[in-house]
């Protein structure tokens, strides 16, 4: 009996925590549907237009898409940045697939001299914060005259070693027997990789991509450091430049930035979990 009550209370606490953690999403969506007057009413205190403190409503009283229309029709610079984000994220993911997948397969399954040392080096690099590698990146990018082009953001991220690390664990778990029997049938290294490695490790590839997407969609330091022209900036740098007077726009821009990553998150949730978990278990 006592045990049951304890479990109930625990469940309740965990539920409350979940609601608190997810509240920002609800908050942003509700805010994006409010009209200017309503937002001014609730947030007036923060915007310096009223006394007292900011307040909020669970649902908008007069829901409106006005702010959406304004942002989507009257803000060309928003489109440019959205498109910049899509381009850069897409190019980064493509680069990670083209170079990362074979590399992960090589480290996991092939006989490469010194691969243990190299793979440890990859792990160490993956753990270095941007600040440590930023000057290195800059020196190369500068020598290649790529500073202030989107390649400056794309190229270093495309060679990130983190996806290699995630995919490595999935390739390791493919049973040896399958590969050996394919080799007995006369398949060469590339055929084994393409017809066995890639399909059987596909969940690993997808989970690495989901993790990379969430990161690439949120890049702040790299574009801030390497891109001087604002026309090249990604969406993640758009929001901070909206002043609080335009609270309605800020809410809508937040929601629109949020939607792609939330969709990827929901669609790839199982893969995301697998990807996170893959690094936790020691081989």
């Amino acid at each position: 009996m006592k045990h049951k009550i304890f479990k109930r209370i625990l469940l309740l606490l965990l539920l409350v925590l979940a609601v608190i953690i997810c509240f920002p999403v609800v908050f942003l969506i509700v805010g994006s549907l409010m009209g200017t007057d309503e937002l001014n009413h609730y947030l007036g205190a923060v915007l310096g237009k009223a006394d007292g403190f900011a307040s909020w409503a669970l649902l908008p009283t007069y829901p409106t898409f006005k702010a959406y229309v304004q942002l989507l029709l009257d803000s060309p610079e928003f489109f440019v940045m959205f498109w910049n984000s899509v381009k850069m994220t897409g190019a980064i993911l493509l680069g990670q697939i083209v170079t990362g997948v074979p590399a992960a397969w090589g480290f996991a399954r092939l006989d490469i001299p010194g691969k243990k040392v190299l793979f440890n080096l990859y792990i160490i690099l993956m753990l270095m914060p941007f600040q440590v590698t930023m000057l290195s990146n800059y020196l190369t990018l500068d020598a290649m005259h790529l500073v202030d082009t989107q390649w400056a953001v794309i190229l270093p991220a495309a060679f990130s070693t983190f996806p290699v690390f995630i995919m490595y664990h999935f390739f390791r778990s493919i049973p040896k027997g399958i590969i050996e029997s394919a080799e007995l049938d006369g398949a060469n290294k590339f055929q084994v990789f393409l017809s066995i490695g890639v399909p059987l490790g596909s969940s690993g590839i997808v989970s690495a991509l989901v993790l990379s997407f969430l990161d690439a969609w949120n890049l702040i330091e790299q574009p801030l450091t390497f891109l001087k022209s604002k026309t090249l900036w990604p969406l993640s740098l758009y929001l901070p430049n909206i002043s609080m007077d335009n609270a309605g726009l800020a809410f809508v821009a937040s929601v629109i930035t949020l939607v792609p990553s939330l969709l990827v998150f929901l669609a790839g949730q199982n893969y995301l979990e697998q990807g996170i978990a893959a690094s936790a278990v020691k081989e």
Partner: protein, 283 residues
């Protein structure tokens, strides 16, 4: 040592060449140049021994940023790890809807940093929600981002963002512990707490290593929030190494940056190797 490179081996190596080439060009080779620059003057023409290192350790901004960063990690990593472990243990104990809760805890990973910043501004503004809440209890309101409290906002945001990620990591470690161990212990009359102490904890040691390392890596990413909400020069309690690097980069103080990058890279390397060693000793 003689490495015979027959054709078969060359095919194997081909798999990692693209990735390794990119990593070498953008990180490894230029880092050697960074190392060299850390011993030269700002134009890179004159060898100055350790004077750059002496300069940065005497630099007040570096000392502030360095100690804030260390303080931040020492405080937030244990909070995150203990809190997420507790939740993982509860979720693993067969609570109904555990999967939904887990998803809810992961949602912050999908919320763009820029949107988080909008909410922060509303929460912690002088007339924001936090002040309003305290006002109800008769406490003074203030602009929280401009006080020592800013540091704790950063800690809170780090825990909020990384909680789900760590819960998934811990749960992966927990499910890897065979049930038979618990059954045997219970047959011997062990209670829940004893089971946790003598079975769960020792079996989670390898997960602990991964989680510490990843938590450490992710702690560098709070700069995104800190920067977007407060700019180049935030309240001094949240002036982190990341801010310093940015400011030095803008001033083109490549000599100081090189020395600091080398110092941080070394510290992280020592930390990883130390953790890895204690981890290997466990089994």
């Amino acid at each position: 040592m003689k490495i015979s490179l027959n054709k078969k081996k060359l095919t194997d190596i081909a798999f990692i060449v693209p990735s390794l080439a990119g990593v070498s060009i953008f990180v490894l080779i230029p880092f050697i140049d960074v190392l060299r620059r850390s011993f030269t003057n700002v134009s890179g023409t004159q060898f100055v021994f350790f004077s750059n290192y002496i300069t940065i350790f005497q630099n007040a901004a570096f000392r502030l940023a360095f100690s804030n960063t260390i303080k931040f990690m020492v405080i937030c990593i244990p909070i995150l790890m203990i809190f997420s472990l507790l939740i993982a243990v509860f979720l693993n104990a067969g609570i109904r809807g555990a999967n939904y809760l887990k998803t809810a805890y992961l949602v912050p990973m999908a919320i763009p940093v820029a949107s988080v910043v909008l909410i922060w501004r509303l929460l912690f503004h002088q007339n924001g929600y936090f002040s309003g809440l305290l006002h109800m209890f008769g406490m003074q309101s203030q602009d929280w981002m401009d006080t020592g409290f800013a540091f704790w906002i950063l800690v809170f945001s780090y825990v909020w963002k990384n909680l789900g990620y760590n819960v998934v990591l811990w749960m992966a470690g927990l499910t890897a512990i065979p049930d038979t161990l618990y059954e045997a212990a219970r047959a011997d009359g062990a209670n829940n707490i004893q089971c946790f102490r003598y079975i769960t904890m020792p079996n989670l040691m390898s997960t602990l290593y991964t989680i510490t390392v990843l938590a450490f890596l992710n702690s560098f990413k709070v700069f995104r929030e800190a920067y977007l909400v407060a700019g180049d020069y935030p309240h001094e309690s949240m002036y982190l190494l990341q801010h310093l690097f940015n400011n030095w980069f803008r001033e083109l103080s490549l000599d100081k940056m090189s020395a600091a990058a080398v110092v941080i890279a070394l510290l992280i390397l020592v930390l990883i190797l130390g953790l890895q060693r204690s981890w290997d000793r466990e089994d």
